[in-house]
């Protein structure tokens, strides 16, 4: 598909560095899938879908900065949704979110919560201003918070909130890779799913720029089971836009 035109209808400041851009186009979405967002004349970048008609963006580089310049009535191009999304299970689930990694987990919490699944969320952020989608997770179940600076909840990393992981039928995780690697090392790999971030070019499984070992993050992922990731370079290195290895 060519990019679909999406007109921005509303911009919400979620935190001092994170904004949600709602648009006039809805996508049928499995939580965890992503879209390629084209900021015309600038770049095209992969973004998680936190709603069926919005993207949630942290300002981190030239493309996201250009996106932050856009407002209501401006438009972007969207390709997708792409990728597999989370495999939603029954029972009692644990979500572990770090920073803007809460974006793909929020619709998962809502979908699971409304299906009668018991949802517990561990939400981590640098500081209390940066906690993302707290109300959405609270509406779906229990929430525990950790902040790096101790301004709210546990003073420390979100991984320090993990206890008794065996009581959950499935663990879903999205956040910085170092944090996800820690989670992988703490839980049963076969019962955990991780949403990965990599440099994506084509988005459709052809070019191979986003490969983790032989796995295409854009097509085979972005969600992988811990068991699969254990055998790869996950948590050790990523590749930059040239394909060079960059250690975490």
């Amino acid at each position: 598909m060519k990019p679909v035109n999406a007109v921005i209808t509303k911009v919400v400041d979620e935190t001092p560095t994170i904004r949600t851009f709602f648009f006039d186009t809805s996508f049928e979405l499995i939580p965890g899938q992503f879209v390629m967002v084209w900021i015309r004349g600038v770049d095209e970048i992969p973004m998680a879908l936190p709603y069926e008609n919005a993207i949630t963006v942290q300002k981190v580089g030239p493309a996201t900065s250009a996106l932050f310049e856009l407002g209501e009535c401006d438009s972007i191009g969207i390709r997708g949704p792409f990728g597999n999304g989370f495999d939603i299970t029954k029972g009692r689930i644990l979500l572990v979110a770090g920073g803007v990694g809460a974006a793909p987990l929020a619709p998962l919490a809502e979908k699971a919560g409304s299906a009668g699944v018991e949802v517990t969320t561990l939400l981590g952020a640098r500081t209390n201003d940066e906690i993302l989608f707290r109300e959405r997770f609270e509406a779906a179940g229990d929430v525990r918070i950790a902040t790096d600076d101790g301004s709210e909840g546990k003073h420390g990393y979100v991984t320090q909130l993990i206890e008794d992981s065996k009581k959950y039928s499935q663990i879903y995780c999205c956040g910085p890779e170092n944090m996800m690697k820690k989670v992988l090392d703490m839980v049963a790999p076969s019962k955990a799913q991780f949403s990965l971030h990599r440099y994506i070019k084509c988005g459709i499984g052809i070019c191979g720029a986003c490969c983790v070992d032989g796995l295409r993050v854009c097509k085979d992922g972005p969600v992988f089971s811990g068991e699969v990731l254990k055998k790869t370079e996950f948590g050790v290195y990523r590749r930059n836009e040239c394909g060079e290895r960059v250690r975490f």
């Binding site: 598909m1 060519k2 990019p3 035109n5 390629m36 084209w38 015309r40 004349g41 600038v42 770049d43 095209e44 970048i45 438009s75 191009g77 390709r79 070019k201 084509c202 988005g203 459709i204 499984g205 052809i206 070019c207 191979g208 720029a209 490969c211 983790v212 070992d213 032989g214 796995l215 295409r216 097509k219 790869t232 590749r239 930059n240 836009e241 040239c242 394909g243 060079e244 290895r245």
Partner: protein
């Protein structure tokens, strides 16, 4: 065994290779294509220095095929031997695709890498100073091919651009330079424009078309090269199923490469192999029987 083929001395269990630029940046992804049944794998094109490529969008589906302008992103040959070595664990031939701006650059890269064969990318349609800017000039193609042949002992293949008036003249230049085979074709120049805004969709504005749309173009190029050259032709361009692969071989391809179609089905290599095998059995033909068949009937 019915599909076993020898191409420029390389023994292939089947003639279906992974094309350059497709899942070819990491040893792990090349290995995966081999495990999915590819008879050989060709790496992403590797250059002198690390290169980020063009800005995105760098590839889009344009209904009749795909349009791309990746811009030769690669980690440079200095960081690539370990990827080739990892791919080699799959025990199929690994062909290094390389590109440069001059004969010296090509031979520096080829001389430094250990691979089963080299494929010279003189055909990328959207990189200034590289690719097709070289591959449309027969003198340069001959000079570069000769330089690489002198630098390595492995077979050297030259991948040709269809964006020329007469592809045979470029194929003949490669042959004069000592090429062991030519590969045809690279992508066909193309462009797409976003009608909501007037922006060309690709970050590079224009690029190359691959996929179904270019198959008839590729078939004609392979057919012409088969007539004109003494060295083998390897066919590539829009193969989506086993019938396409048979068609290429009948046009005169010794082996074929598969690119865009891998996105939707990475098992396409084994799928094509089993269907081609069944087809040949039913027809009571061998691979040799259908090789260049369209020229004999």
């Amino acid at each position: 065994m019915m599909l076993a083929a020898t191409v420029t001395g390389l023994k292939l269990k089947n003639p279906m290779m992974l094309a350059a630029g497709i899942m070819g940046t990491t040893g792990g992804s090349l290995k995966r294509a081999a495990q999915a049944g590819a008879g050989a794998v060709v790496t992403k094109s590797i250059g002198i220095a690390p290169k980020a490529g063009h800005s995105n969008p760098s590839m889009v589906d344009v209904d009749c095929g795909y349009l791309n302008a990746m811009g030769l992103p690669n980690p440079s040959y200095k960081n690539f031997q370990e990827e080739i070595d990892k791919a080699k664990e799959s025990e199929v031939p690994v062909i290094a695709s390389i590109f440069g701006g001059s004969a010296d650059e090509f031979s520096e890269i080829a001389g430094a890498l250990c691979a089963d064969a080299f494929e010279l990318n003189v055909s990328c349609p959207h990189a200034r100073g590289y690719g097709a800017e070289i591959g449309t000039d027969p003198k340069l193609v001959e000079e570069i091919t000769h330089a690489v042949k002198s630098a390595v002992n492995a077979p050297v293949w030259v991948k040709l651009t269809p964006n020329v008036t007469d592809i045979k003249s470029i194929g003949l230049a490669a042959q004069r330079g000592g090429a062991d085979a030519v590969v045809a074709i690279n992508t066909v120049r193309g462009m797409a424009i976003d009608i909501e805004s007037g922006y060309p969709i690709l970050g590079n504005k224009f690029g190359g078309i691959s996929g179904r749309a270019i198959k008839p173009v590729a078939i004609k190029c392979v057919y012409d090269l088969y007539e004109a050259l003494d060295i083998p032709v390897i066919g590539v361009g829009g193969i989506s199923d086993w019938k396409d692969a048979v068609e290429f071989i009948m046009a005169g391809a010794r082996a074929v490469q598969i690119g865009s179609a891998v996105g939707e089905n990475i098992d396409i290599f084994s799928d094509i192999s089993s269907c081609m095998d069944a087809f040949l059995t039913e027809k009571e033909w061998t691979l040799d029987d259908i090789y260049g068949m369209a020229h004999e009937v």
